[in-house]
């Protein structure tokens, strides 16, 4: 009985705790579990969610990507600016290409050269922030024809009553889960993160696997930037600041191990969505927005601790 309970908690503890949270907030705030509010939350989490999907690949290879926040800023500035000069279609293409390009650059330094991922992406965080200021000249950019452009679809419109960004999040997650679980590349990502030496002994080019994981992280950040640009119809120079931490928090909360080799897209989606609902629920309960940070702290520590403890069979090391 006790072991069954433990097994349940290990598999579904996160979900169960989250369910309790949802119910208790719903009991005290009527507006919480209404379709309108739920869609609002999904709209809000779609940006960090899409990014987290790509970062999950990097984390499963046993690496980190701290540059995604700065990259989001840069790409949002680019997509908005290019929208004004080259038109929406071209702007999106350029943004996607730039995102993949920066991801590949990280991939070269971390994957191919073998430098420390934390420091390289930290350096990239700083470098990209500089690039943002260089590109924008320090001023904010805005979409000039915000009311008429079809670019608004990505961040502002609904499709079948569901917000388009939430649909993009869903589609990205479905594709990513497919790639991770069903393709050769996905298998290589798990193998490299699980045991890099054994992967090399199995003929897998582990360095290139890491390289492509970073490229993917760049791509999903570019998609997030399109949503962001469309939603805000403009970009400030700090618009993505701190996003790397929220994204990482979501990935960790989902139970993807920073040591690599394990994790799943759906758990990441769950982690990010939970953070969104916690934020929204606390606001509806009348707490100021910053209380969510305190709760996030507690949730991360508890979730990871319980996860670790369940794997070891006991809570204290």
């Amino acid at each position: 009985m006790q072991t069954e309970m433990k097994a349940f908690l290990r598999r579904h503890g996160l979900l169960a705790g989250f369910g309790l949270f949802l119910i208790s907030v719903a009991l005290s705030a009527d507006a919480f579990l209404t379709p309108g509010n739920i869609f609002d939350v999904l709209r809000q989490v779609s940006i960090t969610g899409v990014m987290a999907v790509g970062v999950t690949f990097v984390v499963i290879t046993g690496r980190l990507d701290l540059s995604v926040g700065s990259l989001l800023t840069l790409l949002t500035v680019i997509v908005v600016d290019q929208h004004n000069t080259s038109g929406p279609a071209m702007a999106i293409l350029i943004t996607l290409a730039a995102g993949i390009g920066v991801g590949m650059f990280n991939g070269v330094l971390v994957g191919l050269v073998g430098l420390n991922a934390l420091i390289v992406t930290l350096a990239m965080l700083s470098f990209l922030q500089g690039l943002v200021l260089f590109y924008s000249g320090g001023s904010n950019v805005n979409v000039q024809n915000a009311q008429t452009t079809w670019f608004a679809v990505f961040g502002r419109h609904d499709l079948f009553g569901v917000p388009v960004p939430a649909l993009i999040f869903l589609v990205t997650a479905v594709i990513a889960a497919f790639v991770l679980n069903r393709t050769i590349f996905g298998r290589q990502v798990f193998a490299v993160g699980g045991n890099e030496t054994a992967s090399r002994f199995s003929g897998i080019a582990s360095r290139w696997t890491v390289f492509w994981a970073y490229a993917l992280s760049g791509l999903t950040t570019a998609i997030a930037a399109v949503i962001m640009g469309s939603r805000v119809m403009g970009a400030q120079n700090t618009i993505g600041q701190g996003y790397e931490l929220t994204v990482l928090a979501g990935v960790i909360l989902g139970g993807t191990s920073l040591l690599g080799g394990s994790g799943s897209i759906w758990r990441t989606v769950l982690g990010i969505t939970m953070l969104g609902f916690i934020q929204n629920g606390l606001l509806l309960l009348g707490f100021p927005y910053y209380v969510q940070w305190l709760v996030t702290w507690a949730v991360i520590i508890l979730a990871v601790w319980i996860d670790l403890g369940a794997k070891r069979g006991r809570i204290l090391a």
Binding site: I119, S126, G138, I252, Y290
Partner: protein, 323 residues
């Protein structure tokens, strides 16, 4: 570090070469100073160098604690948030309990949060990256809960005069930084605790077999790291006379950059306060020099990123040669 097979000492480098290879950041710092001295007449003035030192002090004090934790093979991402909380408490409590008690409470808050980080790391077996990432987010929440969204102002402006004590061009803040760095270099090189730090970061199994209490040791270093962050926060509040809820945001990243630039390794077991002082000063000189040259802000950020990657590459090459 892998051992060599040669019967002679590694590489046959002279001790001077080895000293330079271990402290290559100082060579780089000297080069930077030479470059900026020729580029700008305002750079190599006593006044400006004094300013550089003061500007370096805040990241510098954070970096001292970070170095301790990093030689252990751990990391602390929460120092920026702890700095903000200590600065808010030191200012916010003054009107109620007086200046020095408020400062003391601010200091204690940092030590306590550091203790919490260390305890969580030691007891749970979670990686310190996760524990302190949580701390980075959550402690910032504490700051906002305490301050609301607005900056707190000092009521008694004599508070802001403490750091205005100068010894020649060197401010009190800079002196405190230098004194702390030297003190902790002494701790690292001459005390049991300091030598344990290297032993644990180098070869944790050997340290354990030798009876070193690893958990207690790590808790102490995280506590020191938190306490040092609080000192930086208090000094910042004295200098500014206000406590911003967003103070110290992303400073943890600058701190890590400074420490790694100095040559201390993230894997642990390797580093010193000399290296960290070198890294902190290099960062400050780069920032100051680039501003004197009126380069736009973005150049600074891009140079930092590039320098950091170069530092990694150099470290990779040097450690390969030394090994």
């Amino acid at each position: 570090m892998s051992a060599t097979n040669s019967i002679t000492k590694a590489g046959g480098h002279s001790s001077v070469t080895r000293l330079l290879m271990r402290n290559h950041i100082w060579v780089f710092l000297a080069l930077t100073i030479v470059v900026f001295s020729t580029a700008s007449p305002y750079f190599l003035t006593i006044n400006n160098l004094g300013n550089v030192l003061t500007q370096a002090a805040f990241i510098g004090i954070l970096a001292i604690g970070m170095t301790l934790v990093m030689i252990d093979g751990e990391i602390d991402l929460s120092v920026g948030a702890i700095l903000a909380l200590a600065s808010a408490l030191a200012i916010g409590l003054q009107d109620h309990i007086g200046i020095w008690p408020a400062v003391f409470v601010g200091f204690l808050s940092g030590a306590a949060l550091g203790f919490l980080n260390g305890t969580l790391v030691a007891l749970s077996g979670m990686h310190s990256f996760i524990v302190t990432l949580g701390g980075l987010i959550g402690i910032r929440g504490l700051v906002f809960i305490y301050t609301g969204e607005d900056a707190l102002m000092v009521g008694d402006f004599s508070y802001t005069e403490y750091p205005e004590i100068y010894l020649g061009p060197i401010s009190l803040t800079a002196m405190i930084f230098i004194a702390l760095a030297l003190f902790f270099q002494w701790i690292l090189s001459s005390t049991r605790h300091g030598r344990e730090t290297y032993a644990i970061g180098d070869n944790i199994d050997a340290a354990h077999d030798a009876g070193i209490n690893i958990k207690r040791h790590k808790i102490i270093n995280f506590t020191l790291c938190g306490a040092l962050a609080a000192i930086a926060g208090i000094l910042l509040s004295m200098r500014l006379g206000t406590a911003e809820p967003n103070a110290g945001k992303v400073w943890e990243l600058w701190t890590i950059i400074a420490v790694v630039l100095g040559g201390t390794r993230l894997q642990g077991g390797y580093g010193s306060m000399w290296m960290t002082i070198g890294g902190v000063l290099t960062l400050a000189v780069l920032r100051n020099g680039l501003r004197l040259l009126n380069t736009p802000n973005y150049v600074e950020l891009m140079v930092m990123g590039t320098v950091l990657v170069l530092a990694l590459l150099i470290d990779k090459l040097l450690s390969r040669q030394e090994a």
